[in-house]
């Protein structure tokens, strides 16, 4: 009996802890997102765009190319049975724009940039750099967190667009250049079926949501971690795990809202 109550209490405590940490994360986001733009802030932001965005370009573009190529190859083998290989362009473009580009780019971004952000901020915390910044009278939320948060928010959608473009080109390489689908039908079917607002637009909205969530999780985990070597390693893992789950879960919700009504 007491054992049951004890375990119930443990679950309750865990629930309370999770809610408390969610609350802290919310306050943290509110405090750091409202940074006043300044020339110095712009410089720090551009600097972070380089680290978070530009340095993630290679992995995102290479992955996009391969995913586009695989899509075309798999799609062709099925479509050709129905004599519908002219629809290859449409299939590749829609799968990339609506789903694969936002989701896979966000997952790669969480692994490549999110974990780095957590480790960097965490190490700053462990070596008292954040505390000493506070004592100098500079708010680390403004100086350290805000530029990283905004850099992630802007970088991921751009990376997602790059992912789609390279993926569609990869599909073209395999489908048209290698397997011999007629080039005209690859592009014209794509042009006829892809709606800019519904497909490109919704894909970008998805990636904006993922960008905010992944970067938020990454900087918060870094800022909130226990400043020991074990704490840093746990927080880095948490960043990747939480971000991936959040991206996949949110993707389902967003897809239902955006495309659920399409017949």
């Amino acid at each position: 009996m007491t054992k049951g109550i004890e375990s119930l209490a443990r679950w309750g405590r865990k629930g309370c802890d999770s809610f408390e940490s969610l609350g802290r994360a919310g306050i943290f986001l509110a405090q750091s997102a409202v940074a006043v733009p300044s020339r110095e802030g712009l410089r720090l932001w551009l600097h972070q765009i380089y680290f978070v965005g530009v340095l993630s370009l290679a992995i995102v573009l290479v992955s996009g190319l391969f995913i586009g190529m695989v899509l075309a190859l798999q799609g062709y083998t099925i479509l050709v049975d129905f004599g519908a290989e002219q629809a290859l362009g449409q299939m590749v473009a829609l799968s990339l724009l609506r789903e694969l580009a936002p989701v896979v780019a966000a997952l790669l971004f969480a692994g490549r940039a999110g974990s780095a952000l957590t480790a960097e901020i965490g190490l700053m915390k462990a070596t008292e750099q954040l505390t000493s910044m506070e004592m100098i009278g500079v708010d680390p939320l403004r100086r350290i967190v805000a530029p990283r948060l905004w850099a992630g928010f802007v970088s991921l959608p751009v990376l997602t667009i790059g992912f789609s473009v390279v993926g569609i080109w990869g599909g073209y390489l395999v489908g048209v250049e290698w397997l011999g689908v007629f080039e005209g039908s690859y592009w014209s079917n794509m042009q006829a079926s892809v709606s800019f607002l519904d497909d490109v637009g919704n894909g970008i909205i998805k990636s904006l949501v993922f960008a905010l969530v992944v970067t938020w999780i990454a900087v918060f985990q870094g800022y909130d971690l226990v400043p020991t070597s074990e704490g840093i390693s746990r927080a880095t893992t948490r960043t990747v795990v939480y971000s991936s789950l959040a991206v996949l879960g949110l993707d389902f919700v967003l897809t239902v809202v955006m495309f659920g009504g399409l017949s």
Binding site: T131, S132, E134, G137, V138, D139
Partner: protein
């Protein structure tokens, strides 16, 4: 120099991780003097500095700096107040992505609109005073612990603060730089009428520069007075600490069960490691 307290600590209570660190601390730290806070390791001296700097919040009690209650200020007002303070961290806590010069220039760049040549002059002046003008291009990773602390001191006084908090400034210094540092803290305090709080357990050095000393142990102020009066203090705990005697009323060991029974206790029977 006036005797109006610049920092006042009133009935401060603080618990951390289930352990009572402070049980009613009262201090009045006068303007323009060097006040030392001493005590054995683990008595929460660094914690006290963090409470003064507003990084930790006490369970009860107040910390007033120049009449302002540190823990009731808004986040913005607290950061404004901190511009008037400097803090020297035990680890130095230099920004690892900036070199020595930029570390010292950081407070000047963020809080002033001074032209570049003036920032350069100021930084070199501060670095000269800690003897590291030649090390301006090094990164923090290339510095020894003692050098990092001296750079951190130059950074802490870059804005000429009114209050400076030193956390164990003498640890890890070689005899030469120790002497220079002691002299530097004294000079800074006298020339700029700086209010200094030095947390340390280096008795000789600290007593040689302090105007007033608080001795804390077991969460309370056990003695206070001028260095001279402490030297001949009647309390055996005080004289044990001041004269560095291993045997006395202050235990060397962290609280633990009886050694003999602890050794004989079967580790597995008591549930493993503890």
């Amino acid at each position: 120099m006036t005797d109006v307290p610049f920092v006042e600590i009133e009935d401060l209570h603080f618990t951390f991780g289930g352990r009572e660190i402070f049980r009613g601390i009262n201090m009045a730290i006068p303007h323009g003097r060097i006040t030392a806070i001493m005590g054995p390791s683990g008595t929460g001296k660094t914690t006290l500095l963090k409470l003064i700097g507003g990084q930790l919040t006490p369970d009860s009690g107040r910390v007033l700096i120049d009449g302002q209650d540190v823990h009731r200020l808004s986040r913005k007002a607290l950061f404004e107040l901190r511009k008037r303070m400097g803090m020297l961290f035990q680890s130095g806590a230099l920004f690892s992505d900036l070199d020595v010069f930029e570390n010292v220039a950081f407070p000047l760049r963020v809080h002033t609109d001074l032209p570049e040549p003036m920032i350069r002059d100021l930084v070199l002046l501060k670095l000269q005073s800690v003897g590291l003008r030649g090390a301006r291009a090094l990164t923090p990773a290339e510095l020894s612990g003692g050098m990092a602390r001296r750079v951190a001191l130059a950074r802490a006084v870059a804005l000429d603060p009114e209050l400076i908090l030193y956390d164990e400034p003498f640890v890890g210094q070689d005899p030469i730089s120790m002497g220079v540092l002691v002299e530097l803290i004294r000079r800074l305090s006298q020339a700029l009428e700086l209010t200094s709080i030095v947390v340390s357990h280096d008795i000789k050095e600290t007593l040689s520069i302090a105007d007033y000393v608080y001795l804390i142990s077991d969460g309370k102020v056990v003695a206070e007075g001028t260095p001279k009066s402490l030297d001949t203090h009647a309390d055996p705990r005080v004289s044990q600490f001041v004269h560095g005697e291993p045997d006395g009323p202050v235990p060397f060991h962290y609280p633990a069960p009886d050694f003999y029974s602890d050794i004989l206790d079967d580790a597995t029977a008591s549930g493993g490691h503890p």
